[in-house]
């Protein structure tokens, strides 16, 4: 199917002007139609299906038309397996370009050297206008969209061995487990390895509700009684916090790891207090929505209430991500209008709320409510999207917790101190409102070279083991080295080739790669040619468009995939109606934002973000007498 008729002029316009300079170097009135052209072109040139034989699909339930299934099946009624948990990741570059790298190229340059010499945080480089909710929200979203699941265990496939210099790592060589590819199927012989997404691919809040019915039932269980909450609510402790998993039943997390004492939610891997705060807020939001629906539908069953609340939460989260989170990272008129028009269209929010849609065109009235469209391939998260969302530099290494009433210092904690099973203890010590205030008034790291959190470069693999024992066994992970290796292993093209495949110009030498002379010399010392530069290194070295918090290279993937997550999903398109969502639910989505969610569940901290334009911008700190400064 070709590009839509009304998008063709935009594609031609972008193609013509891109020869001279990229979209962000043009003035706003020219940049905007170029962005429309880029997205239209990429929808037909940068989406590739890897699925050969569709996964086995469980039988349908009577309500698939108006409810999301637990495993994501039947979102597309004609292709029920599309986007369900266990379906393969798609690709944004042609399949013949996605063969995983083999040794020796797989290890060239040495991932640990890249980690040490280009990624290691020397000094924390903050983004001065953003707050740490940026990073916790991002992780919250990624857990909704994707997980590669368990790697091969050492006894199944020998881990990669990365030689390290003496004293650089507890053991030599450093080992990294191999990714577990999807089992090969008929017709896969000449194709590159594909990988399964163990979460639902859809934007369905599976990070909250899980990607299986069993997990969903656990979330819905009242921790006090051990019974299913009768009114469809999420089971919370009396203090409004998530129950601990061991209080109900210990189950493996998304990565297949058993971590007892973690808070219970759909996905609780890589758990830390920022992520926990997001889950807690939206579990409370789910329950508030149930209360609202009960007023309108007092006779409704708990199951019906749960399913409607899930739909509403998922849509609200999608809206927040589209018109609040992403514009915070793309703080320019082009970035804002690109994202706001994804939701409301160029006619804007006022028109949409006052009159609804003018027509079916997404450009005019936004994607939600427009016809569903899969474009060039069945909907799936992609490996390239996964690679672009490797944004670990956003995480600080150290967190200062302070009181929201007077900014009094309470505690300073390392990232490890506030991760995994330590989270409930942080709430006990600091208090939930103070945690939110502290995250809201702290800056995340910038997505640049030399800003990768050092604690993630020596991440303890297992909790509860004495450090000496862990050191002896080398049970640490250098996540930066893993990030580099994973992209190579899974066939994500390196930086220059990646850009070419997205229809962008590629640097022909190191001078064109980055304007930072020091970085240029450092990269040159490690990579033989500019063609060898890894995607992550290139995107962190690249000069950003004005107002942006990330590179233009990753933005191209985002502009494609952000709209695709909405446009491919029946519940955001043809079935995004008051009939399916209920009128009360529909109004809830229209009227609420992340600001209102925070205000509803943590009113005490509301004065601190009352005057920030975007809730993800850094909040002013409390004055000595409690006044907001």
């Amino acid at each position: 199917m070709p590009v839509e008729w009304y998008e063709k002029p935009f594609v031609a316009f972008e193609k013509a002007l891109n020869r001279f300079r990229p979209w962000h170097a043009w003035p706003f009135p020219i940049a905007l139609p170029m962005l429309v052209g880029i997205r239209a072109r990429m929808r037909w040139s940068n989406l590739f299906n890897t699925e050969r034989q569709p996964a086995t699909v469980p039988s349908s339930t009577p309500n698939v038309r108006s409810e999301r299934t637990a495993d994501g099946s039947y979102n597309d009624l004609n292709v029920p397996w599309m986007g369900m948990a266990g379906a393969r990741f798609g690709r944004n570059v042609p399949l013949e370009r996605t063969f995983g790298e083999a040794p020796p190229r797989l290890f060239e340059p040495n991932p640990r050297d890249v980690s040490n010499r280009l990624l290691a945080r020397k000094e924390f480089v903050p983004v001065p206008f953003l707050n740490v909710f940026i990073s916790s929200w991002l992780q919250f979203m990624v857990h909704d969209w994707l997980s590669h699941g368990e790697n091969y265990r050492p006894e199944e496939a020998p881990p990669y061995e990365i030689p390290v210099q003496s004293g650089d790592w507890p053991v030599n060589p450093m080992t990294i487990l191999r990714s577990r590819p999807a089992p090969a199927e008929a017709g896969d012989e000449d194709r590159p390895a594909a990988y399964k997404n163990i979460e639902t691919h859809w934007w369905d809040s599976s990070q909250i509700y899980g990607s299986s019915l069993a997990r969903q039932m656990m979330i819905r269980t009242d921790p006090q009684t051990g019974e299913l909450c009768p009114d469809g609510k999420i089971g919370l402790k009396p203090n409004g916090h998530l129950p601990l998993e061991k209080e109900i039943q210990e189950v493996p997390d998304a990565e297949g790891v058993r971590f007892p004492n973690l808070e219970l939610t759909g996905v609780n891997g890589n758990w830390w207090v920022g992520l926990s705060a997001m889950h807690t807020l939206f579990a409370r939001e789910h329950n508030s929505i149930i209360d609202r629906l009960k007023l309108e539908y007092p006779q409704a069953s708990g199951e019906w209430l749960f399913q409607k609340a899930r739909l509403i939460v998922a849509a609200l989260i999608a809206k927040i991500h589209t018109v609040e989170w992403t514009p915070a990272l793309m703080n320019s008129p082009e970035g804002k209008i690109a994202m706001r028009s994804n939701w409301w269209g160029l006619l804007g929010e006022h028109y949409a709320r006052a009159y609804g849609r003018l027509n079916e065109l997404e450009l005019v009235s936004g994607i939600p409510g427009s016809p569903t469209e899969q474009h060039a391939a069945p909907y799936a998260m992609t490996e390239e999207f996964t690679a672009c969302y490797r944004m670990h530099p956003l995480m600080p290494d150290e967190y200062s917790f302070r009181s929201y009433s007077d900014d009094r210092h309470i505690a300073t904690k390392s990232l490890i101190d506030i991760a995994r099973r330590n989270v409930p203890g942080i709430y006990d010590e600091v208090g939930f409102d103070n945690v939110l205030y502290s995250l809201g008034t702290s800056n995340p790291g910038a997505l640049v070279l030399h800003n990768y959190p050092n604690q993630l470069r020596m991440l303890p693999e297992k909790s509860g083991m004495p450090n000496e024992e862990r050191l002896a066994q080398g049970l640490f992970t250098d996540l930066a080295a893993v990030d580099i290796l994973r992209d190579r292993e899974r066939g994500v093209p390196r930086y220059c080739e990646f850009r070419r495949q997205l229809g962008m110009s590629a640097p022909t030498n190191f001078e064109e790669l980055t304007s930072n002379a020091t970085w240029r010399d450092e990269i040159k010392a490690l990579y033989p040619t500019v063609e060898d530069v890894d995607l992550l290194v290139g995107t962190l070295a690249e000069t950003w468009p004005t107002g942006f918090g990330f590179s233009d290279t990753v933005f191209r993937v985002f502009i494609l995939m952000a709209s695709r997550r909405l446009k491919s999903d029946r519940f955001f398109t043809t079935d995004f109606t008051p009939d399916v969502y209920t009128q009360a639910g529909w109004d809830w989505i229209q009227q609420n934002t992340f600001r209102s969610v925070l205000t509803r569940h943590c009113p005490a901290v509301a004065p601190h973000f009352a005057d920030v334009r975007n809730i993800f911008f850094v909040w002013p700190k409390a004055g000595p007498a409690g006044a907001v400064q």
């Binding site: 514009p327 804002k336 706001r340 005057d611 334009r613």
Partner: protein, 138 residues
Amino acid sequence: MTYFYELGRSRTLAQNAAAQLRTAMAVYLVIYAIGGLLAIILPSLVGEALALPPPYGGIRPVGGLILLVAAFQIPVLQNAVRSRVPALIATCGRVLMALLWLIAGRHFLWIALFEIVFAILLAWLLYKCMGAELMSRP
């Protein structure tokens, strides 16, 4: 363009930009309306000023048309942000009119100059106003 991270300052900036546009738009529309009224009330004066050959019977309808076009722009004067599609159409219309006056030549060049000056000024102020409004949102 300057943008702020605070809601209050951003809103103030957007309101100031809207006020500037409104002021310039008001001046433009007043001059425009006076021209239209003159054409209706004193067609001979207008005809002589533009060095048109008599009779001046066609000038009155043109004056009426000018008043009508001015009236169409009142929603933009009231709220350019909400009426951004008409505002964009009006901007394009001004450029088109300027071109027509230029083609007409002679004394119409003064009208062309007026249209060009205001077309550029109002387009710039509209661009600023839209940008400030957009950047006052999350």
